[in-house]
């Protein structure tokens, strides 16, 4: 049954490319959107009662796939962000042929990410990581403009080096484990915990994962790739690709394979804190909107890794929740930046001003996204930051908790700067013609903003339903 998450998009991609173009070109966006919506629905419906036909299909292929709450959160995030991306793409990529390629590649990226979050085998994990990576490379360079190509090349370079690290570690792991599944490797690592080769392999693997997540100091590709990519691709990249490929894999491997040794915890928390602080400081100095959001993403990934690294169940829940919230508010902010870019043709915040009166919905939703990132009540970001700070405090790490709170102040600072420069004040001369963005961009904006507000207000009610799966996992 779970294999459908991979087989279904693959089959649709093949079918869509075989059918005649006239039939497929207008429908492709809807098809990909439907796949994403089906995925979101599948997360909530009970998986224990599949239809007979799906059960018999599932018996055909016996793959080592499994679901738990971490996977479910990721599947939901993937569905949400892909739906948003495809919808936003209708407004931003006008060329029919390019949109067709875009939608196909998005569907393939979806397949890759589904594979990443579902497998329980270290080599298949690598295979699906590469699939997602290559599809992202092509998407970043989709419009073949100079920035996109440059960002894509930097991403390829960093990703390839990270892959090399991870593969060497995988070689050592498989050799000591006799198999490739997570369970076998976990047993082997515990049996040979002092061996220097194994320790080196673990360090290499984690370094590779840090590079793929964009954690400092391995973040070199993130600003260029996020800035150079076409607008809808940035939405997907920031919202979910980096999270699935980098952060989820880190969480999964540390949780299921490496285990929480004190050194691992120290490494995670150390690098997490560095990313939070330096990312926020770098974001303060940006004039380019997309680069500001890119550094903000680096900072938020730092929060996730810090919370996860403290090693408690509450920390894990905080990391999960913040990952999901990040998908929501970062996608919202990137959709807004896409609307702004489409309306004004600019990415440089210094030349913008007073757009709030011309684009009220964009301004309001950007405000919601910004405040949620900074962790202001009553938005959802507040709750996840709170859980993170409480988890750190309870784990006996008050220094880290204080740093997390102070960095939230920095986050608020750069977010307010972004709001002020772009939306407030008098409307500048050249912007009299600016109008609100079209349907394809507005629907995701409204839906995401409502989701953030709704989650924020409703969280106290949801907390138990949220914590229970995490407790069972732990």
């Amino acid at each position: 049954m779970l294999s459908l998450f991979i087989i279904l998009p693959l089959a649709i991609t093949v079918i869509v490319n075989i059918l005649p173009k006239k039939m497929v070109y207008p429908l492709i966006g809807a098809v990909v959107g439907m796949v994403a919506l089906v995925q979101m629905a599948a997360v909530f419906l009970p998986v224990s009662q599949p239809l007979e036909i799906m059960r018999s299909l599932g018996e055909l292929v016996r793959w080592d796939l499994a679901v738990d709450s971490l996977t479910l959160v990721m599947l939901l995030s993937i569905g949400v962000v892909v739906a948003v991306t495809v919808l936003a793409g209708t407004q931003l990529i006008k060329d029919k042929e390019q949109y067709f390629q875009f939608a196909n590649l998005v569907l393939l990226t979806l397949t890759g990410m589904n594979g990443v979050v579902l497998v329980r085998d270290i080599f298949s994990l690598y295979v699906f990581l590469e699939i997602t990576g290559v599809a992202s490379f092509i998407l970043i360079a989709l419009q073949k403009d100079s920035d996109g190509l440059e960002g894509a090349f930097k991403y390829i370079l960093f990703s390839a080096v990270a892959t090399i690290f991870m593969l060497s570690a995988i070689g050592i792991f498989i050799m000591s484990a006799g198999g490739t599944s997570f369970g076998a490797i976990q047993a082997a690592l515990q049996a040979s915990s002092g061996n220097i080769m194994v320790l080196l392999a673990i360090a290499a693997f984690m370094t590779g994962l840090f590079m793929k997540s964009g954690l400092m100091p391995f973040h070199g590709w993130v600003p260029d790739a996020y800035e150079g990519a076409p607008a809808p691709v940035s939405v997907m990249l920031a919202g979910v690709v980096t999270k699935a490929v980098g952060v989820y894999t880190l969480l999964r491997v540390v949780y299921s394979v490496i285990g929480f040794t004190p050194q691992v915890k120290m490494i995670l928390m150390g690098f997490g804190v560095i990313s939070i602080v330096l990312g926020a400081l770098a974001a303060l100095g940006q004039t380019n909107l997309k680069r500001l959001l890119a550094y903000s993403s680096i900072s938020q990934v730092g929060y996730i890794v810090l919370s996860f690294g403290c090693g408690t169940a509450l920390g894990f829940a905080g990391a999960l929740f913040h990952m999901f919230n990040h998908a929501l508010f970062k996608s919202l902010l990137f959709v807004n930046s896409a609307s702004i870019e489409k309306a004004t043709g600019l990415k440089d915040m210094e030349r913008m001003g007073g757009l709030g009166s011309k684009m009220p919905l964009t301004g309001l939703s950007a405000g919601i996204g910004a405040l949620s990132t900074a962790g202001i009540p009553p938005f959802s970001g507040f709750w996840s930051k709170l859980v993170i700070v409480v988890a750190l405090w309870q784990a006996g790490l008050p220094v880290y908790a204080v740093i997390a709170v102070l960095a939230s102040v920095l986050t608020l600072a750069y977010m307010l700067m972004f709001q002020r420069k772009v939306f407030w004040g008098k409307t500048l001369e050249g912007f009299q013609q600016v109008r609100e963005a079209g349907f394809g961009l507005m629907v995701p904006t409204i839906v995401l903003a409502l989701a953030i507000v709704g989650l924020g207000i409703g969280f106290p009610l949801l907390f138990n339903t949220f914590m229970l799966p995490v407790d069972r996992l732990w």
Binding site: A141, M175, G178, I196
Partner: protein, 164 residues
């Protein structure tokens, strides 16, 4: 099969890697890479992985070299100019590498890494084709997926522009 054969092949491979880095022209660098791939393929035969060795030889030493050479020829006009421009200080920059390699080799031989990893018994079938088809079929699906992605990429980047 003695260990000396292995050492010889490995030594040749390191030399061709060195040549790939220090070569002045791009073309020679790519050909040295092909040479290294071929030597890797031979060493894979020695190490008991014949099927993978054939793959490596045909794909890496063959296909990838063709891709590199076609890229070099497609970007030829300016890159040749640059190569000529930098050729006289090329050696100045790259002579560090043999020195570093020598130092690295000495350091590595003196570091004593004890390596007693107990390898557990497994009942994986010994034939690669069995393993690939029956056990790792998810990887095969992954290969199909990545080939699909690659075909999109190639059609995007290598297409001739139609004159409107």
């Amino acid at each position: 099969m003695s260990i000396h054969v292995f050492y010889i092949i490995m030594g040749l491979m390191t030399l061709s890697a060195l040549w790939a880095v220090m070569a002045r022209s791009l073309l020679r660098s790519a050909l040295a890479l092909a040479c290294a791939s071929a030597l890797l393929s031979i060493s894979m035969f020695v190490l008991g992985s014949p099927l993978a060795a054939v793959f490596e030889l045909s794909v890496c030493a063959g296909l990838i070299t063709v891709v590199f050479i076609s890229t070099i020829s497609l970007t030829q006009p300016m890159s040749w100019h640059e190569t000529m421009q930098h050729v006289h200080d090329h050696l100045k920059k790259y002579w560090y590498l043999p020195v570093i390699l020598l130092i690295g080799a000495i350091v590595l031989t003196t570091v004593k890494v004890t390596f007693n990893i107990k390898v557990p018994e497994t009942n994986v079938p010994a034939d690669v084709r069995d393993v690939l088809w029956h056990i790792r079929h998810l990887d095969v699906v992954g290969q199909v997926l990545i080939l699909l992605v690659g075909s999109f990429g190639v059609s995007l980047f290598f297409k001739e522009k139609h004159k409107k």
